[in-house]
Symmetry: C2
Subunit: 518 residues, 2 copies
């Protein structure tokens, strides 16, 4: 058994069933091993940003890692942005990168690069297999690192000669590490804070966003009067009719600060104290008021579900009635197509158990409230802020959950970073409806240009600045782009069109794209 | 003057006229400065791989750096692959990356990443502006580093607060560093080697590939009987009818080794001793025979042009007659469309002064010999092996040379890493004819799978391996993809079609794409 096969067999032994891949010459023995060893499915992407984003979407929905296969430093480079997003979502990924043969590195061949250094900023674990005898155990260590709570990107470099040399043996699965338990003293502290009579909130992310944990949190909130908050961006939130009602922290720092200003206590479960996405002149970076005490009930590494359970008992909320979202109205929108009317159509038509991948950027402000009362669904957001995650994450989520419909809400600007995802959707016949919110500009940047004070109040941007913020001239034709990748597509310019096209797309197996012209 | 403006004014003062950009919130003050300060042209790209590849193509043709503008670590990540290619081509690039405000970094906001570490593997210079008073001089230092021979990628991080704070002043242009002169002893050693009577070659790259330097090298070869070699991949080679005839070192290691085996002396000008692109079991990494002495007449850092001039005198070759390429036949091909017939059409139709960007991968083996005798042109190859460089480099080259036609020869697999380049070509109205060599597979990998010994001789790859090497199922429709980006396109399935479409595209201003179905 060569090194490549020992790594593949280690993946399979650990229950890793997927390998998102864009291989090159140095990975050919790994490709041959994927061909030979049953139990793992290779899924090809045309670009490594799709590989990494798909592994993120897959990991969030499957709750276990996919593996990747990338080609040397440049292949890793192309994956960095979406590995960053996965790191921020605490998605487990076993990130395999081919490397030049150990003895070839000294030649500084054209493709040679410092791959370990490139990997480090996005990885919780980086190692190069230097010896075929340890390739399997190195892979087992990488898998353990990826799965260690809260989950992360573990990068393993496999030199070509280690891959092709005989003498490998599969690594032994280690017992899976459980999240750290939370001490009774910490639970008691959080309970005291919530019962203090002062304005308090529970702030959730990670495992605390699953249906049962959310309902427990809802009981705690109902019993104590605490607000129930979730982070602005969530890795996977169970929402819709019948799910606990939550408030999202607003994206813009000034709105977040205003919303959080009354709080005197915040109890964190599965997250950290909130910070502003960006810095702005004369605005704070930390969003909680100085007078607010932070109670870290459960960090992302801790067992947030058990901690909420213990807290529920500690505040006597076991039989409290949480506030649940009611089912929204079911009238399909007509007239102008806007993010709001698009959201209403979505709220009506979203099938139960749908997975919504949200990279709508400015559009999300209207889409989130519009879909509160939709049929129960999961909502996956952009955790690291690196745009170009939506289409690939939807691709990976559809592979993880072939029995569920995936709807990807995607800004036109963001779509263009990883548009190649559509081809993998077509090749794999995935049930993804990609909705492109086409406003022909980087709308968020037009807002931010003002907010950061780059222009004086009332000043309008000059032609050259405007040109850097608009992506018309020429307009992108997403219907043509989708067809070019093998995905059927339609264009909607009214709410009526959109609702009809969405209903038809949801009723048809396989991928579809709707260009929603706003 | 704020920090952003001081950086922009420093760029302009150093003659940097271009900024390829894909900005985000942290770069808004820089965008406003680009808007305000005359003398620098922002060119928007939809993806950072296009930004970096365009800066590479621009720098190779303009002989001076463009600047870039990237958004934080993920924006830099998306540019890594083409920055790697630029590094290998020694292309000067002033690579500007926005960073979170200095005081915001401690918050570990969602987009925070270790940007300096990410930049280091592809950069000859990395610095973060920590103080607005030094932003201008930091930029001047970055420009000096990018332009220091042989040229490189200088990365400067500009934190948002440094960009928006007043108190900046432009950096003072430093005198441009000249390449290092070559000592007479080294020239004499090279002259002795070439006159030794033993089999010898001159091996050229970098500045030695310009028309006059090549002709000088041709005289030396004619006078001494040395072979005239160029690296397999060249940053910019002056070739075609009337240019000195050169031999390219073959791509595949075994062919290269066979070709170089007779040599006892190699004189290097502007390059290093050749190595294999990849390692293969039981094949050497270094391509020259052990019995061959390497004479480093001029390293990439040295003045290769002056060194060749001195060598020409030292071997008494001043009046020797170099072997020049004759004009090829001018019969347009008919019948089957293959890389060879495509090359013949190109050879007939290539206008004088054309710029050919070659990322045809397996196709190049036929295209290079077919176009030897075409009208004089420049040939730009993929220096770092990171595919996805062709379309962006063609974009940048067209901006550098608006009076010349650019022809991009692009593999279908490679095209899909940075297909967004087409939109920038459409927006800027660039004279680029993009020829997609569509064989519906990663043909190079089908060859390499065998060559690395991942399959036994005669064994055919299994269905799953084959599936990772083919990009049909579904076929990409490049005509639709081009139209989606705003570029007119046609499809050719015969050599006659192709020749007609190429002639028409070359006669029409603005970008065009031809999908050449092979």
């Amino acid at each position: 058994m060569n090194g490549a096969e020992s790594v593949v067999r280690t993946l399979v032994a650990h229950g890793i069933e997927l390998c998102f891949t864009n291989p090159g010459t140095s990975e050919m023995h790994f490709v041959a091993a994927l061909d030979r060893v049953p139990g793992i499915r290779p899924v090809l992407a045309l670009f490594e940003g799709v590989v990494a984003g798909a592994a993120d979407g897959y990991g969030r929905m499957a709750g276990r890692p996919a593996s990747t296969l990338l080609h040397l430093g440049p292949g890793l480079g192309n994956a960095i942005a979406n590995l960053h997003n996965a790191r921020r979502a605490h998605t487990p990924i076993v990130n395999l990168v081919g490397e030049h043969a150990t003895y070839h590195r000294a030649c500084d061949a054209p493709l040679a690069m410092d791959v370990e250094t490139t990997a480090r900023p996005v990885s919780c674990f980086v190692r190069t297999c230097e010896d075929v005898r340890h390739a399997g155990s190195d892979a087992a260590d990488a898998i353990a690192a990826a799965c260690a709570p809260p989950g992360g990107v573990a990068t393993l470099l496999l030199p070509a000669d280690v891959a092709w040399t005989p003498g490998g043996r599969p690594g032994i699965p280690a017992p899976r590490r459980r999240p750290a338990p939370v001490s009774p003293a910490i639970v008691a502290d959080a309970a005291r804070a919530l019962r203090s009579g002062e304005a308090a909130a529970l702030l959730l992310s990670g495992a605390a966003l699953a249906p049962d944990a959310l309902e427990t949190a809802g009981r705690i909130a109902a019993a104590t009067g605490a607000r129930l908050l979730v982070d602005t961006f969530v890795p996977r939130l169970a929402r819709g009719a019948g799910r606990a009602r939550v408030e999202s922290i607003p994206y813009f720092a000034e709105a977040a600060v205003a919303s959080l200003a009354p709080l005197r206590h915040v109890v964190l479960a599965g997250t950290r104290a909130p910070v502003a996405f960006f810095a702005y002149p004369d605005k704070p970076s930390r969003l909680l008021p100085d007078a607010c005490t932070v109670h870290a009930l459960a960090t992302p590494e801790d067992d947030a579900v058990a901690a909420l359970d213990a807290l529920c008992d500690a505040v006597g909320a076991r039989h409290a009635t949480p506030v649940l979202e009611p089912r929204g109205e079911a009238a399909l929108p007509t007239g102008e197509l806007t993010p709001a009317s698009l959201g209403r159509a979505l709220a009506c038509l979203l099938p139960e158990g749908a997975i919504v991948v949200d990279e709508a950027i400015t559009g999300a402000a209207a889409l989130l409230p519009a879909t509160r009362g939709a049929a129960p669904h999961d909502w996956l957001a952009l955790m690291g802020g690196a745009i170009g995650q939506g289409l690939p994450a939807a691709t990976g989520a559809a592979i993880a959950c072939p029995d569920r419909k995936v709807i990807c809400l995607e800004g036109d600007g963001s779509a263009m970073y990883t548009i190649q995802s559509l081809w993998t959707q077509a090749r794999e016949g995935l049930d993804v409806v990609n909705v492109i919110l086409a406003n022909r500009r980087y709308a968020i940047l037009q807002i931010e240009l003002m907010r950061v004070g780059a222009l004086a109040p009332g000043q309008t941007p000059g032609a050259r600045a405007q040109d850097m913020l608009e992506i018309g001239r020429p307009d992108l034709d997403f219907v043509a782009l989708a067809r070019g990748h093998g995905v059927p597509a339609t264009r909607a310019t009214t709410a009526d069109d959109f609702a009809k096209q969405l209903a038809a797309a949801l009723a048809t197996p396989g991928p579809h794209l709707i260009e929603a012209v706003l």
